[in-house]
Amino acid sequence: MIERILRFWPSRKGAAPIVPEKSVAGRTLLLLITIMSFLSAVTLGGVVLVQKSAIAWSADVGREVTIQIRPVEGEVMESNLRTAVSLAESTPGVASARALTIAESQQLLEPWLGTGLDLTAIEIPRLVVVQLADPTDADIEGLGRNLAAVKGASLDTHAAWRQQLNTMAGTIVLSGLLVLILIGAATVLAIVFATRGAMATNREIVDVLHYIGASNKFIAGEFQGRFLSIGLQGGLLGTVAAMLFFALIGTAAGNMLSSEAGAQVGVLFGRFALGLDGIIGILAVVPVIAALTAITSRVTVRRFLAETS
């Protein structure tokens, strides 16, 4: 399969490579680097998705605060609602404030109490949704202080939720980066073993090159060229596979869920859309893996030659 794909890879013109292409455990190493690149790209993509969703969700939640007014004996709920709306609207940085109607409040309770109940006889807490024009400049503390004048009123800035969400997203991002580092380390180790194996297999070539006056730098360059080529091929195959994976998951998620459910999942977990920065990040796996392969093999070859010459 890989060989069939590689037929489309441009081959080097001119003189034949001094290190034979088939002698560098190429197929096994190519498969390994492809897998490592795929894992790196998927991890990176996952991290990007989580981070983007967390930022978007946090920003959405952060643009809104809620005033809750509990029923208090002797207080008129509608009057308190108007006062709260008025206080909110006069607060700097607030774009708009709107009290939820009784019907809207009942809708919010439906998941817990079910439908068809007449709640008019029961005093239920009412909410005022406050949209902020600029979350960073809004005087939330001032609003909180002013609301003390309204009995039964409390301000919910969703700070605890946002904090929890950010902590969770940060943990996932950190875990992803740790996985990336581990994948990188495993790749380096695999390349070291493959390079030493290739050097041992090609010992005759190394000896002949030494005898005809080749420097260690030249010999390392010849081996590095082969490994760079394998790294590029593996990196590209793995990354393309990862892109297809994300495209497939995105399509499958869209098809499997109804539009409403899909929208809810999208709000909670993002839309499996990597975006341009995510795609660029994943594409960066190709040169990174290729460079990692080339540098590791070069260092290993130089060390091997220093030990043996």
């Binding site: 003189a15 034949a16 001094i18 034979p20 005759e204 002949v208 005898y211 005809i212 006056g213």
Partner: protein, 220 residues
């Protein structure tokens, strides 16, 4: 050009393989290096190739004491020395042309520059028709001629040959030594050819270095 003065060689803590070698080789000369198997011919050639350093004594090549050379200088000096092996040591995946061109490629010459020289040399050694063949398709004699061409393509000052006739029949052996003689005569290359085939030596009137148990017993 080459001077050995009381040179001894041992591998690790083992016994001395070569003892008290003192001789000199003049530029443009041709020497046979002979002696029974195990007498130290290959070890002496490795000293001459600068792939080993003497355990004692002094080796001077091209006017420099080789014991204190830096890696870079050693590499530069090694490029003045060509080597031909009994087992040819051609790279199997490269064609005859590519094998012969290898030393020039190592020196960084582009193919457009070295192609005419390599082609001319291959024709000179009688491999003009075989330059695109892989070593596996060459006969023993053809392989050895390709190996000789590879050893001389970069015009080294010294050409070493370690039993170059060991894998060919007597008639071809003689023709190969004639080829070395021709290189010595036409290019002025200093040649040291190791062989244990005494009948072959008798066909040529070149000075002999006879090694026996690590000592140089004859150097005429």
């Amino acid at each position: 050009m080459i001077e050995f003065s009381n040179v001894g060689l041992r591998y690790g803590n083992g016994p001395e393989i070569l003892r008290d070698l003192t001789f000199s080789v003049e530029p443009g000369s041709f020497h046979f290096l002979t002696g029974p198997s195990g007498s130290g011919k290959t070890s002496l050639l490795r000293l001459l190739l600068l792939s080993l350093k003497p355990s004692r004594g002094r080796v001077t090549m091209f006017g420099e004491d080789v014991s204190n050379l830096t890696q870079d200088r050693l590499l530069q000096m090694r490029r003045h020395i060509g080597i031909v092996f009994q087992e040819f040591r051609l790279l199997d995946h490269l064609t005859t042309f590519e094998n012969v061109a290898l030393p020039l490629r190592v020196l960084g010459q582009p193919e457009s520059e070295y192609r005419p020289n390599v082609t001319e040399l291959l024709e000179w050694v009688g491999l003009g028709e075989r330059m695109n063949a892989l070593p596996s398709l060459l006969s023993g004699g053809e392989k050895q001629r390709a190996a000789i061409a590879r050893a001389v393509i970069a015009r080294p000052k010294v050409l070493l040959a370690d039993e170059p006739t060991g894998n060919v029949d007597p008639d071809l052996s003689s023709r190969l030594v004639h080829l070395f003689a021709e290189l010595n005569r036409t290019l002025g290359m200093t040649i040291i050819l190791a062989t244990h085939e005494l009948p072959l030596l008798d066909q040529f009137n070149y000075p002999r270095m006879l090694l026996s148990k690590g000592e140089l017993v004859i150097h005429d």
